[in-house]
């Protein structure tokens, strides 16, 4: 069983929901990321989504766009993101780690080369924003051959037929994009999300993480009541942005926010 599947099963047995923080690798600098990842695990993160910086993050709002820009200014890349993943694994062999990014860096490395590198880094899942299932078979097959989960996005306008398809070819979990928009946008509508989750549950058996629009402990609690996991990115990264000269302060603020989310979700 993959680390992701095992983690969701364990959580489910304990009646808990997954807290899934997202940070961009190398933001605000490469040395920041691994200690931040360990600290997030300590603060209650169940799975970590590590963003691979890309020059043209089309599905991201301004906060994650700027995180990518800061990381790229330090020459961060897919290759160096994989090195960060490997370094994280030296001291944490338990926490599932998912790479989230865009296709072109993977294309440049080649699907096979990327899958090999991800396996070496002991990465558990890959979520490629601009690689829907109809174009993604070749890449998913390379990952699957190495027991790495391919995680697909579902959107408010995904049809039942597509949900079924993602549930079949995806693994690990499904990432439900709670609103029509970019990361960090507006407020999610709880009733809409509940409604859609019923449709997703009826068509797919994978655990569902919900992201886009999770802003604070309160939304984390609400979303945890609906899905199997809560993904939070922009709200965390905004602390990095707010403390440009003091990464340690950013780190403390991120930990405080995650701890509050963890508490709100568990109570």
């Amino acid at each position: 069983m993959s680390r992701l599947a095992a983690k969701f099963e364990e959580l489910s047995q304990n009646g808990r929901k997954a807290l899934i923080p997202f940070i961009t690798a190398g933001d605000p600098n490469p040395a920041f990321t691994v200690p931040m990842m360990h600290a997030m695990v300590k603060a209650g993160a169940d799975v970590i989504e590590l963003g691979v910086p890309f020059s043209d993050p089309m599905a991201d709002g301004p906060v994650i766009q700027r995180a990518s820009e800061r990381a790229l200014a330090h020459k961060m890349s897919l290759r160096r993101t994989l090195e960060i993943a490997m370094e994280f694994r030296r001291t944490d062999t338990k926490t599932p780690l998912v790479l989230m990014g865009y296709l072109n860096p993977i294309e440049a490395m080649g699907y096979e080369g990327f899958a090999n590198a991800a396996q070496r880094a002991d990465v558990d899942g890959v979520l490629t924003v601009d690689l829907p299932p109809e174009e993604g078979e070749a890449c998913a097959a390379e990952l699957k051959a190495r027991d790495i989960d391919t995680i697909f996005l579902l959107a408010p306008n995904s049809s039942a037929e597509r949900i079924k398809k993602m549930g079949e070819i995806g693994s690990g979990y499904l990432y439900y994009v709670s609103l029509k928009g970019v990361t960090g946008a507006g407020h999610l509508n709880t009733a809409d999300v509940e409604q859609k989750l019923k449709e997703i549950r009826a068509n797919a058996s994978l655990p569902v993480g919900i992201g886009f629009g999770v802003k604070d402990a309160e939304t984390a609690r609400t979303v945890a009541g609906i899905g199997d996991g809560v993904v939070v990115g922009s709200a965390l990264i905004s602390h990095i942005e707010a403390n440009p000269d003091d990464p340690e302060r950013a780190k403390s603020a991120i930990i405080a926010m995650l701890s509050a989310m963890r508490q709100a979700m568990d109570n």
């Binding site: 890309f54 020059s55 043209d56 301004p62 072109n104 294309e107 440049a108 601009d130 109809e134 995904s158």
Partner: protein, 400 residues
């Protein structure tokens, strides 16, 4: 017209290129667009309305003009200019926006968005939106807003909201990113009019089909004027919509050579250029697989060209296919050479071309003398140079 050539396939693939590489939220609107596009391109009412608009609003057909003096001066092939500069709004861009706007209306969309580089597509979009009474938002890189301020003003006059995009390199690619972000947020009421033959399927094929009218006209006009097919076609390539519009109806005519002219900027060897077909590699950006300017890590490289409309790191996937199959040739022209083309056409024929089209003129100056006097080149004069007066005056040290 084209019989043998049947690209793309049902999923929008031109061999390994093209396709639908988008985030999940855009899958449904793209499917809806694809269905509407296939339905209405067979619909006689839609086609009649499109034809009437192209004739009475755009001013089609545009002339095929024999540039006699310039041909004599260059001393080789006879040069014919396809006068897309004479269209309403001053470029070929309106052929496509008229078509897509009619589609938007049929689909019940009330809001139009677009990206623009030089501003020609933005103006052409704002124009059709004004005419149909649709809300219009145009995304334009902040760098381009500064260098194409006349077109910004035109768009505002036409009632469009122009959003200056400050992210990334602040040029066309970033405007496209921002338009995609808008679309994902407002999918229910918004129609995204992409200005070139790029983006996810069906855009590359749909924009080509709307632009192919200029190639069909050129083919017929050339037959009428000279009794034969041309020997060569020349067009500038940024995303490549004017070039594909000219090339497409000739693809099966194997005697007709095709030359797509990319922007070499300061020179290919300097790295400061916008020539993915000449010096890039295949990758995925903005919804399709195509030749791109990217580094070894797959990050997109900043591009450079004197012409905002060619300042783009990708190119339409069909051009990638035509390059790999050898059906079309892709060459590159530097900023300085483009300026020579600009002045040559202006002084020899009394026609001021857009800086984008000037790249095609500059290549024609190289190509024509290598050909015989009984041979024919059709060059796409894709836009007029009015929008570039400030850029040119500034280069000459003149304050307007």
């Amino acid at each position: 017209m084209t019989n043998k050539y049947n690209m793309p396939d049902a999923r929008g693939h031109f061999g390994p290129y093209g396709g639908t590489f988008v985030a999940e939220t855009l899958i449904r609107p793209i499917q809806e667009l694809n269905e509407a596009y296939h339905r209405y391109l067979q619909d006689s009412d839609f086609l009649a309305e499109l034809d009437a608009d192209l004739q009475h609003y755009v001013g089609r057909p545009s002339p095929l003009y024999y540039a006699e003096r310039w041909s004599r001066e260059l001393g080789g092939a006879q040069i014919y200019l396809k006068r897309e500069d004479l269209n309403h709004t001053g470029s070929h861009k309106i052929n496509n926006t008229v078509g897509q706007a009619l589609l938007a209306k049929r689909m019940g969309k009330t809001r139009i968005i677009a990206e623009t580089g030089a501003g020609q597509h933005g103006v052409a979009t704002a124009t059709v939106a004004a005419r149909l009474g649709l809300e219009c938002v145009v995304y334009m890189g902040a760098v381009d807003v500064a260098r194409q301020s006349l077109n910004v003003y035109r768009m505002k006059l036409l009632g469009a909201k122009v959003v200056a995009v400050e992210s990334g390199s602040k040029t066309l690619k970033d405007a496209l990113n921002e338009a995609l972000r808008d679309w994902v947020t407002n999918v229910d009421n918004t129609f995204y009019i992409i200005g070139t033959v790029a983006g996810p399927h069906p855009y590359p094929a749909m924009v080509r089909d709307f632009q192919a009218i200029l190639g069909r006209e050129a083919k017929q006009q050339c037959q009428e004027m000279t009794g034969r097919l041309p020997d060569a076609l020349v067009a500038c390539v940024g995303g490549g919509s004017n070039a594909i519009g000219l090339f497409y109806p000739f693809i099966d005519d194997e005697s007709v050579k095709m030359y797509g002219v990319e922007a070499a900027g300061d020179g290919i060897e300097t790295g400061r250029h916008s020539a993915p077909l000449s010096a890039g590699r295949p990758g995925v950006l903005h919804g399709n697989r195509t030749y791109l300017m990217a580094d070894d890590d797959g990050e997109i490289i900043e591009t450079h060209s004197i012409s905002a409309g060619l300042d783009y790191p990708g190119v339409g996937p069909e051009h990638s296919w035509l390059k790999d199959t050898g059906r079309a040739n892709y060459v590159a022209i530097t900023d300085d050479e483009a300026l020579e083309g600009f002045y040559a056409l202006t002084r020899m024929e009394g026609i001021i071309p857009a800086l984008e089209s000037s790249h095609a003129m500059a290549y024609t100056m190289k190509l024509a003398p290598t050909m015989n006097k009984d041979q024919i080149i059709i060059v796409n004069l894709s836009g007029r140079g009015d929008k570039d007066m400030q850029t040119m005056a500034k280069r000459e040290g003149i304050l307007l």
